[in-house]
């Protein structure tokens, strides 16, 4: 496929706000996970919580106020991203810039709070201040972001659990290829809520310890929150680019991946095929690597079958936590930092590699130039997406 240049990007997670904060944390090998408490959640777990979300959204967009949109706004305000989009808008026109975001739970925390408030009042209606359409609705973050950026191109929000914001890149790529828009803002946002904390706990996938991807003693995920955005457009200028993407469905189980890793393999293979690259061209894999027993084994099988056992790979979920619907854009952004800064992050918190995992899990940070890499994102429902990034010369 024709490479899609990423002309700007930004991310905000528990590692900090903006690209520099992330690069510094990766270099200093500092995790964003901590044993903080979220709201009234009494579960013993580690969280990748973003600070600075206590202030409600005011002014023109006050109706969209919820944790998810506060996080989206905080992320938009980093790295001069709003100014970059302003230039993009002038260059292409507001109608020709699309918005493709991903989220898994949108503003459901607002609904959780509304139900709690209703119970305190003894039942009846939800509070009049609760705005379902501008908070709970899956498209809420897309609507909020496009209004903040004053964009009027086509827009939708993909919600395929933990592959959501990776698949947003695929949607944008197709839309540009079909001429539905000339450029796009791609990304995603997912924020902490009781639904995912108690939900993953009910599925026995939430770790009481810090997330340890690929570790022999791994116990599951640590949940994080994050938002990130990228500008994609066709351009001959050199720089980082999306060279390929691949999507597949496991057709296996709603909450467990195909143990043979066939869906993951299909997604990675399709990304390499689109990019016209071979195994030897791939210098690093940013794994989905949730730290659950089943994911890490299945993904390793797919990686080793496609790339052999020598390609350096790591999950960065020990740094940020599993940011669910935002994992795609977080790990895409980290992958772009890897390419631009010649730094491969290690599999943080991994003490002893699971003997069944054969891939070259990075146990230490490594300085290396990587021209091309793959970022994996897999979700409930067997939804898989692999993104292949590289340097366009």
């Amino acid at each position: 496929m024709k490479p899609l240049r990423i002309t700007d990007y930004t991310l905000t997670s528990a590692l900090g706000a903006g690209r520099a904060a992330h690069l510094a944390a990766l270099r200093m090998q500092r995790t964003g996970l901590s044993q903080v408490s979220f709201e009234t959640c009494g579960l013993a777990t580690w969280l990748g919580q973003v600070s600075g979300l206590a202030t409600p959204i005011s002014g023109e967009f006050a109706d969209w106020d919820c944790r998810n949109n506060r996080l989206a706004l905080l992320a938009l305000q980093q790295d001069g991203f709003i100014q970059s989009v302003e230039q993009l808008r002038r260059r292409h026109g507001a109608h020709r810039v699309g918005v493709f975001l991903g989220t898994s739970t949108s503003g459901i925390h607002q609904t959780e709070l509304a139900y709690q408030a209703r119970d305190r009042e003894g039942g009846g209606d939800l509070p009049a201040s609760f705005d379902f359409g501008r908070t709970q609705n899956i498209y809420s973050c897309g609507d909020f972001v496009r209004r903040c950026l004053r964009l009027e191109g086509i827009a939708h929000v993909t919600s395929t659990a933990c592959s959501s914001s990776a698949k947003a890149f695929a949607s944008a790529c197709r839309a540009l290829q079909c001429g539905l828009c000339d450029a796009a803002v791609v990304g995603g946002v997912d924020s902490l809520c009781l639904t995912t904390l108690y939900g993953f706990n009910a599925l026995q996938l939430l770790s009481a310890e810090i997330c340890r991807p690929a570790d022999a003693q791994r116990k599951g995920i640590s949940i994080g929150e994050a938002a990130g955005f990228a500008i994609v457009e066709y351009s001959n200028a050199p720089g980082v680019a999306l060279l390929g993407y691949g999507e597949s469905s496991d057709a296996h189980h709603m909450s467990t991946p195909d143990p043979a890793g066939r869906g993951a393999l299909a997604a990675m293979s399709a990304a390499m095929h689109r990019a016209g690259l071979e195994a030897a061209d791939i210098g690093y894999v940013n794994l989905h690597g949730t730290g659950t027993q089943s994911n890490d084994l299945a993904e390793d099988k797919a990686v080793c079958e496609l790339l052999g056992t020598g390609t350096p790979c790591s999950s960065t979920k020990g740094w940020t936590g599993h940011t669910l619907g935002a994992a795609g854009i977080v790990e895409a952004s980290i992958s772009l930092l890897v390419i631009e800064n010649d730094l491969l992050p290690r599999s943080l918190n991994t003490r002893q590699r699971d003997a069944q995992i054969r891939g070259a899990i990075l146990m230490e940070n490594r300085d290396a130039h990587v021209p091309n890499l793959i970022s994996n994102s897999f979700g409930f429902g067997g939804s898989n997406c692999s993104l292949l990034f590289g340097m366009q010369r």
Partner: protein
């Protein structure tokens, strides 16, 4: 963007299946909104069928209806599932449980609460391993789904099943959600004309437009009551086998022009 419409699926009050719905949409038979029967998904194993969520049943009903009129096999189709709000009954149960001190969440409710649960169950039931997108664009979810499916057809040269569905929420969420009726529609879209193709469809984006409305008041009410039902003006012309232009509101301050060409 150009594609062909292979077949249609319908499930809404008074529109039970595409075969039964066409005389109604043509105006040959009066539209009578009736209570919808439950639709046990035929392709799911019996134990899954009984406990499948409402939104999954609805999506399966129209997907199965569209496939029954096509020679294409479900595992050869990419899929797009467009829904404004997914399964609000599950959201309701989760938020009720989370408002209690014990916070006992059903693990099944949690994994069924993902917006792509219908897509997940469909891929398992149909053995469909190709790409699948589940998306929302609120009131314009059908329009956004059509653009995504059209882009899969054109950019990836895939046959694609588009399912648009939304369920009437539980009473607690009804006022805020604004979806008054349960309805779903499906289209199978192909890059090439087949002998059985119903029509050619050309889609382009425009500045904001006034949407095409329906003449029959009860059908117009249905169109406005559910995001998936924005498909109805297109389906009326398909049922009449006539060429037509349909205007649809899009999500981002723009509109869609659909040019339908009868064979």
């Amino acid at each position: 963007m150009s594609m062909y419409i292979e077949s249609v699926g319908c499930c809404a009050p008074g529109l039970e299946g595409w075969a039964q719905s066409q005389p109604v949409l043509r105006g040959e038979r009066a539209y009578v909104p009736t209570q919808m029967p439950s639709h046990p998904p035929q392709r799911l194993p019996a134990n899954e069928r009984r406990r499948s969520p409402l939104a999954v049943r609805l999506a399966f009903a129209v997907a199965e209806d569209a496939l029954s009129a096509s020679t294409l096999q479900p595992d050869d189709l990419a899929t797009v599932f467009a829904s404004s709000d997914g399964d609000t009954h599950i959201v309701h149960r989760l938020c009720l449980a989370l408002a209690q001190p014990q916070r006992v969440v059903s693990p099944t409710d949690f994994h069924n609460s993902v917006h792509n649960s219908a897509a997940g169950y469909w891929s398992i039931a149909a053995g469909a391993k190709l790409t699948s997108t589940s998306l929302s664009a609120r009131h314009a979810s059908f329009a956004a789904g059509l653009l995504e499916a059209g882009a899969l057809v054109q950019a990836e040269n895939r046959d694609c099943l588009l399912v648009a569905f939304d369920v009437r929420p539980p009473e607690t969420l009804l006022a805020g959600c604004g979806i008054d009726q349960t309805a779903a529609f499906a289209l199978i879209l192909t890059p090439r004309r087949h002998p059985g193709s119903l029509a050619a469809l050309h889609v382009q984006t425009l500045a904001r437009v006034a949407e095409t409305r329906l003449e029959e008041p009860a059908l117009e009410e249905l169109r406005r009551s559910n995001p998936a039902a924005r498909a109805l003006p297109l389906l009326v012309h398909l049922a009449r086998r006539e060429s037509a232009t349909v205007l649809l509101d899009g999500a981002g301050g723009h509109g869609l022009q659909l040019e339908l060409q009868a064979p």
